[in-house]
């Protein structure tokens, strides 16, 4: 009986360990999946930010100002700085 008890306890412990490992792996998988999702969303966001920067770049601004608003760069002597 005593031996049986020990074997039973060891079996329960081993089962617990196995279950824990399975659970860790399962969590690991879902963390991996979530991490990947975060990375992809971050990358998507980066591309959108890049697009914003591209649209704000001097080249795009000048091109759009010339094409759509018929503006051109002003000579430096026409620039006025208004002090506070």
């Amino acid at each position: 009986m005593k031996l049986f008890g020990i074997v039973f306890a060891i079996s329960v412990f081993a089962f617990g360990v196995v279950m824990m490992r399975i659970e860790i792996n399962r969590s690991g998988r879902s963390i991996g999946k979530l991490q990947n999702e975060v990375e992809i969303k971050r990358a998507r966001n980066q591309y959108l930010e890049l697009e914003v920067i591209r649209l704000q770049s001097p080249q795009t601004v000048q091109q759009m100002a010339q094409e759509k608003l018929h503006l051109r760069p002003t000579p430096p002597q026409n620039v006025m700085v208004l002090e506070d």
């Binding site: 991996g32 770049s57 760069p73 000579p75 430096p76 620039v79």
Partner: protein
């Protein structure tokens, strides 16, 4: 008695013992083997197990950003994926290829061609954007996606397109720098850290380990480059290239008071190959400024000394004759020599100064040595020792021949004149900021040495202003602003020996405004297809860039009297 006489009782016990021992033997052996493995082969087996089970993921090698001086980012790593196919695992070839062709926007025939060319694994597409990735990723677990593989990698993106790409350089998909700033600061931008230990399951699925470490101490590099200044320089250079079709073109902009490089544009534009640091050339007349400033500083000539020009012909040595065809005077003062860009005048002044003194000043101005910017491939130019100079060598160096220099050296020398006589340490990188908050300052204002006296610098400013007002640099004039500079048109060394009459390097180097100089600008057009001069081709480019920069920094005109009265009124009424 019964027990003793019963052989079965004895035998049963013995047998049980034997069975027990036999049963124990296996665990004991296992235990012994485990003890042996844990004690004597521990390190070897641990590393073997690590290699078998875990992956140290490359995709987690993060890379810092590169910013301009105002914090606008010029280069950043974005996570992308490569889509590959393992042919042997694909279940339905037709369906899979159709799906890929449609999702990746590729022609079916191209994918088919790759399929037939490769034995098993091949990449269908690289640098897949996140949106496409999200379309492919869910099907990986279906029969349609069997055999497909999405490998993470990084793409180095430049929001300003090719702008400053010659300075920035390139980084590969593994986030390692290959050229330019990316290579120079590779260890700061990308360290061997932030590697995550993870188990890899079937189909590349990742199972993150408990002991997941995430250290990110990569740095971000802040350049002294201003992306707007760079844009003005690149735009002006592109226009000059279109007009004059040179082999190469360079525009370099420096702050004379600090030595900071604001823009460095090169043509042709190649990743990490900035001609501003790598190109060497004989400067021609732009070097007269250096020779004359040296002579004035040494006191061997003064500003109004008349220099003999009789016959506009000077025989330096037997058989070596220099001619001036651009004027008809028999005497010229230094401002006039510079205004008409007289080779005779500059040569005579160089001889007056002497080889040793001229060499001393040339080296003091920083020619013949690298600038410590440490840009990859930076050249130091070529300044032969004065002990080997002949009289002809000394004279020709006075007007910029027999010496090879780099654009960064020449702009540094002009900045020294602009700032009152100090050679400044040029800077391309302002600082490095690490993720843990550390800041490594790189662009401290550093005066390398005083090259000329402040009085000489002041005199040279007037001389160079005269060049732009009355001389060869008229096309660099900017209404309302004082401009000082010098043109240069140098013949190139011919492959057959001597100088080629039809191959030139035209240039202009100057600064504005004169009293409080904000920008030193150097324009070089190497071997323009159309025959031209520094004053006609390079000076207008200087003007265009300078106008952009003055407007960018909102520099107030220092010559308001040059502005028309009605313009003034208009400004006030605004």
């Amino acid at each position: 008695m019964f027990k003793q006489n019963n052989p079965f009782a004895y035998n049963a016990k013995t047998r049980m013992k034997i069975c027990g021992l036999l049963c124990l033997l296996a665990p004991v052996c296992i235990g012994a083997q485990l003890f042996y493995m844990q004690t004597f082969r521990h390190d070897e087996l641990v590393s073997k197990a690590e290699r078998a089970i875990y992956n140290f993921l490359d995709e987690d090698r993060w890379r810092g950003k590169i910013y301009d001086t105002n914090g606008k980012f010029l280069a950043e790593s974005v996570r992308t994926h490569s889509c590959g196919i393992s042919k042997r695992y694909v279940k339905d070839k037709k369906k899979t290829l159709d799906f890929l062709a449609e999702t990746l926007g590729l022609s079916r025939r191209n994918i088919e061609r790759k399929w037939n060319r490769n034995r098993n694994f091949f990449f269908v597409a690289k640098k897949i954007k996140p949106d496409v990735y999200m379309e492919i990723q869910p099907i990986l677990r279906t029969s349609l996606g069997q055999g497909l593989d999405l490998t993470p990698e990084y793409e180095r993106v430049h929001p300003y397109g090719n702008s400053a790409i010659d300075i920035l350089g390139a980084a590969n998909s593994k986030n390692l720098g290959l050229s330019g700033i990316e290579l120079m600061f590779n260890s700061e931008l990308s360290q061997e850290i932030s590697r995550r230990r993870a188990k890899r399951a079937r189909r590349g699925e990742l199972i993150y380990d408990r002991s997941l470490k995430e250290e990110r101490s990569v740095g971000s590099v802040y350049l002294t480059i201003d992306i707007l200044a760079q844009y003005y320089a690149e735009q002006a250079l592109a226009k000059a290239v279109k007009d004059y079709e040179p082999e190469r073109g360079i525009i370099l902009v420096q702050q004379p008071q600090t030595g900071r490089i604001l823009a460095a544009a090169s043509y042709p534009r190649k990743d990490g190959q900035s001609l501003a640091f790598q190109f060497t050339y004989e400067p021609g007349s732009t070097f007269k400024t250096i020779a004359i400033a040296s002579a004035l500083d040494a006191g061997v000539v003064s500003i109004n000394d008349p220099i003999d020009m009789s016959g506009r012909k000077w025989e330096i040595a037997r058989g070596v004759v220099v001619r001036d065809n651009q004027h008809d005077k028999d005497e010229l003062t230094i401002p006039e020599i510079m205004a008409v860009s007289s080779n005779i005048g500059a040569g005579k002044i160089a001889l007056e100064l002497g080889a040793k003194n001229l060499f001393y000043y040339i080296t003091a101005f920083g020619f013949g040595t690298k600038t410590d910017i440490n840009f990859n491939g930076e050249s130091k130019g070529s300044v032969p020792s004065y002990t080997r100079w002949t009289v002809v060598d000394t004279a020709t160096k006075g007007y910029g021949y027999g010496i090879a220099l780099t654009p960064i050296q020449l702009i540094g020398a002009y900045s020294a004149i602009a700032n009152g006589g100090y050679l400044m340490q040029p800077h391309l990188v302002d600082r490095i900021e690490y993720a843990d908050g550390r800041v490594q300052k790189k662009a401290e204002v550093q005066r390398i040495r005083r090259v000329i006296k402040p009085e000489t610098a002041q005199t040279m400013k007037k001389v160079l202003e005269h060049v732009v007002k009355e001389g060869s640099g008229k096309k660099a004039q900017i209404k309302g602003y004082s401009v000082a500079g010098k043109t240069g048109t140098a013949e190139k060394v011919s492959k057959e020996g001597g100088y080629a009459k039809r191959h030139h390097v035209v240039s202009f180097c100057g600064f504005t405004p004169i009293e409080d100089p904000r920008f030193t600008i150097l324009v070089i057009l190497d071997n323009p297809a159309k025959y031209t001069f520094g004053g006609t081709a390079a000076a207008p480019v200087f003007k265009e860039v300078a106008e952009g920069l003055l407007a960018m920094e909102a520099v107030a005109p220092d010559r308001p009297e040059e502005l028309q009265p009605d313009t003034k009124k208009k400004k006030i009424s605004q």
